[in-house]
């Protein structure tokens, strides 16, 4: 009897402490507001500015629009629809890859996808679509349909030593759960606005990071082999993840933990 009451008391204590811990774990609305306010002075604005200089000196919007086969004034709309099928490449490409193509067209040295030049220029041209909605069209053609299907497969495939898939931590089912002390985001949620807010400044890294690079960092931490940047699988993953937030506003540069 006595043991029972003690264990009951212990359970009570455990419950209480878990409630208490929950309180401590979550940021207050005031705290969240302070972090939201950081967006007003996003250090990545300086990098976007550098991206603008680079883009204008290396490529220029006239040449870029011509390569994509659109009018210059339609660039924001076109950019909001990436990744998309691009005729000269004969495949679905990301915004960063389209810049590599444009560099090659201009006879310029083609920087790597992870180079600061490409990251800054990607952020700059995507910022031209700020205020537009993410308008990826995964049914636009057979190429897009194929990449969407592949992207879903990559997203859901369990791999690595722990048999984890992207879906394990980033589906609607996990909302409210935490990894260490960080709430796990549903990549399809309106508030997450995932795809429309990358490239983003990562506070913990003190630098701007692209969506594909961020996904690689996620894979690394989940003990999955990193899918190479620019590979068909990585582009497909970007297609799939971007489509989850179709219709959300594009706000570049984003600001993340």
């Amino acid at each position: 009897m006595r043991t029972l009451s003690i264990s009951a008391a212990l359970v009570c204590l455990a419950l209480l402490s878990s409630v208490h811990a929950e309180e401590k774990l979550s940021m207050s609305d005031a705290d969240k507001a302070m972090y939201a306010e950081l967006l007003e002075n996003n250090p990545a604005e300086m990098e976007v500015g550098e991206g603008e200089q680079l883009f204008n000196s290396l490529i220029g919007s006239a040449a870029y629009a011509k390569m994509l086969g659109v009018k210059e004034k339609d660039l924001p709309k076109t950019i909001a629809g990436f990744p998309r099928y691009v005729e000269p490449a004969k495949k679905v490409v990301t915004l960063s890859q389209s810049l590599q193509m444009a560099l090659a067209n201009q006879g310029k040295e083609v920087s790597k996808l992870e180079s600061p030049e490409i990251i800054k220029m990607t952020a700059y041209i995507k910022s031209l679509a700020n205020g537009q909605k993410t308008s990826i069209d995964v049914k636009a053609n057979a190429h897009m349909k194929e990449m969407m299907a592949l992207g879903q497969q990559v997203f859901e495939e369990r791999r690595g030593g722990r048999g984890l898939s992207c879906n394990n931590c980033h589906s609607a089912d996990i909302v409210g759960q935490r990894l260490r002390m960080q709430p796990l985001p549903d990549l399809g949620a309106k508030v997450t606005a995932a795809a429309g807010t990358w490239p983003a400044y990562r506070m913990t890294q003190g630098q701007m990071v692209t969506l594909d690079k961020r996904m690689q960092q996620c894979m690394e931490n989940a003990l999955l082999a990193k899918i190479p940047l620019g590979s068909r699988e990585m582009v497909a993953l970007e297609v799939y993840v971007t489509n989850k937030t179709k219709g959300n506003a594009i706000q570049i540069p984003g600001l993340k933990r």
């Binding site: 604005e45 300086m46 990098e47 500015g49």
Partner: protein
């Protein structure tokens, strides 16, 4: 070393003489503490941080900041300023290695 990138913002955008505005100053700087190790070599990365920032208006010093490595990477420094009239706001930031950058913006009160 490439020149330090900086950004000055005056908030709000529209102001009159006599108003108190906020001056937000940001600089691209690694703010190395000297306590971090290079992951490949295991060697300490030497401290490299902005150590002084001076704000002046029409060449008159209004605020001087002595800064240490504890400010975040690409730091933000924000102060208030009572707009006396039109003029030039100058911010000079210097780091512990002697690199320095001067940024200016025009203060243009309306009315």
């Amino acid at each position: 070393m490439a020149e330090m990138k900086t950004l000055i913002k005056i908030k709000p955008k529209d102001y009159k003489a006599g108003d108190i505005v906020k001056i937000d100053f940001m600089a691209m700087h690694p703010m190395e503490t000297g306590m971090r190790k290079n992951k490949d070599t295991g060697e300490l990365i030497p401290a490299n941080y902005i150590d002084e920032v001076k704000f002046s208006f029409n060449d008159k010093l209004i605020t001087k900041m002595v800064i240490w490595e504890s400010l975040s990477v690409n730091p933000l420094m924000s102060i208030s300023f009572k707009v006396p009239g039109a003029g030039t706001l100058k911010v000079v930031a210097k780091d512990n290695k002697g690199q320095s950058v001067e940024s200016t913006t025009q203060i243009t009160p309306k009315g």
